[in-house]
Symmetry: C2
Subunit: 364 residues, 2 copies
């Protein structure tokens, strides 16, 4: 058992929706709430399981959307209700991070925070925990905003990249950040990969509460102002009423744009985590165990003939019988069924919009 | 309105199961009970609708299986309960025909009977009714067992064929039968089609009650004996108790084998009905209206890209989004989903058996 530092908090961002995995994920049941690998644990539960050796339930803060409170309480009954922050509007990650930092700072002026997405895959859990412990030690002793950079294994075009800069003398594997790069073309991604200096942007952030609050004040004053107005109210009974009025007035922007790309005290810890953001069916396929026929299923009752390279993501105990499907996505949940070649998955978003336009929001 | 002959009865055989349309048809909901064309009427209802100008509800007899009584009463509320004969065991068509003939003969010694499958498609309803009226006139005035032979339009290998013989002098379009031919090879089917003398065996039979009962006595005495034992009980309160004991002792054999292929007084009326036995998905596809993309659906909520030649048979108001499926069957009902190329539909039976063996009868 790792000895826990009582000032360490974990913020898990779990309010996102997304149509990329439609209809397996649905607007009322987004990806983080799904048991994507048929293991009996959802991505959100796996995220919590992963950090529990570092931070107890009492210091894990969930930031989500009001619509998902029942799911959160069902899936994570050990997280205290007061640790669940419910955004009254969708404003991307910067307002989320700023609110959570204020809330935690009100609880503990010396708090340090690891901020995590809730819907990513990390296969190397021990490497993750070592990196987080090392990273938290670093941000607690430096004026630093730290992000995890994942050692790239392929020229992925779906990820942002971070170029590492000067190494820190006193922290192995941690360097300054030279620059952030948006999702590259394939040619560019191959150059980035070959260089050895570029790492995937994991969306995992580490900082002290006061460091990130100062960064908002300096670099995103429009957001800082919104949340500073509630300074006496965080972690009190008045917090939610304040947030109900204030939160929707914050601009919608990511913490990467608002803070990380502008700050001068940004560092990256590079690490190999067996990580995927599970942003595409192809990523899910590539990171999932395959059955003898070379298909990925969520433990569903599947009989295939001459099918390979396909994902069968079906909710419930339905039987699927399929023949002659090579490299397809077959996904079903509730009132919708999707059958699309994997190399056309970028069309799914448009198709879902067409579904909603023709048949209504019940199908979103 | 055609003037009805009060001695004319209609027997509709509607007890069959079948796995060829699994999972759209299920053992608890076989093909005849399904609205296959999304018209709001099931194949069984369409069969009744088709004969109602010829025979009133009161003289339509349904022969089915005990398991389907609720479906029969739901779909055909105007058929009197006493007109529903429920077989206590599955014994193919000969015992079914023999029981129905006894039952009707007990009601009316002068009865004539048209015996119909419940799960076929007939597009030319007026030609059907004219043929039936003409055929009933014939069997009521001749010692004849009459079957309808369908003018073939393609070298189908899934149908039995009837070779016509000498024409009847006094009945246009009715000939003796030279022979019955089993499902042919493609080469043979092409020869049969080219000859002009071979017609598809429709499974539609016309006879007087006493003619068919004499035929059973002469040609299938093992069946006749079973049912003759109840001679005083048909159409009485004691009928069902008698049948419960007797019916399961009858041999399982088709009326074609037991009677038609052996009898010397067999005739065929040849006719073009726009008929299909809907025995295969391909037959369903070919006889169904197609949408703009060249696919067949049961009015389901379908969005396709680059799909053609496919059937989407989905129960309920599910949305289906599909891309890149050429000549596929996509069928779903309850706890099962099937996706198979249309040219592999002969494998469906085996696949269903595999499903039942691995996952249980709940999936049949």
């Amino acid at each position: 058992m790792i000895e826990m530092n009582a000032h360490r908090y974990c913020v898990i961002m779990c309010g996102g929706v997304g149509s990329r995995f439609w209809p397996f994920s649905r607007s009322e049941m987004p990806k983080q709430f799904l048991d994507f690998f048929g293991t009996g644990r959802t991505l959100l539960q796996m995220t919590v399981d992963r950090v529990l050796p570092l931070v107890p339930h009492e210091r894990i803060i969930l930031v989500s959307n009001e619509a998902y409170l029942p799911l959160l309480q069902e899936q994570l009954p050990d997280i205290p209700r007061e640790n669940i922050l419910l955004e009254p509007a969708r404003r991307n990650t910067a307002p989320c991070v700023c609110w959570a930092a204020h809330h935690i700072y009100a609880l503990d002026r010396h708090a340090s925070i690891m901020t995590l997405p809730s819907d990513h895959l990390i296969l190397k859990e021990e490497a993750f925990r070592q990196a987080m412990t090392h990273g938290m030690d670093f941000v607690e002793t430096h004026d630093a905003l730290l992000t995890l950079g994942i050692t790239p294994t392929a020229p992925e075009t779906g990820y942002g990249y971070i170029q590492r800069g000067q190494p820190c003398q006193d922290a192995e594997g941690i360097t300054e950040v030279k620059c952030f790069t948006e999702k590259p073309s394939l040619e560019m991604a191959e150059v980035l990969l070959a260089s050895g200096d570029f790492f995937w942007n994991s969306g995992i952030f580490l900082w002290k509460a006061d460091t990130i609050l100062r960064a908002f004040a300096d670099l995103a004053p429009d957001i800082a102002e919104v949340f500073d107005a509630g300074d006496d109210l965080y972690a009190t009974d008045a917090e939610n009423d304040f947030i109900a009025g204030a939160f929707p007035t914050a601009p919608s922007i990511s913490v990467d744009y608002a803070i990380m790309e502008k700050a001068s005290n940004v560092f990256v810890k590079t690490v190999d985590l067996g990580w995927s953001d599970l942003g595409t069916w192809k990523a899910l396929y590539e990171t999932s165990p395959r059955n003898e026929q070379g298909n990925v299923t969520q433990n569903c009752r599947l009989i295939t003939k001459d099918c390979s390279g396909s994902v069968f993501a079906i909710k419930g105990d339905k039987v699927i019988v399929a023949a002659g499907l090579e490299n397809y996505i077959v996904a079903e949940n509730g009132n919708a069924l999707l059958i699309v070649p994997m190399d056309r998955e970028q069309e799914i978003r448009h198709l879902v919009n067409e579904v909603k336009a023709r048949f209504g929001e019940d199908y979103s």
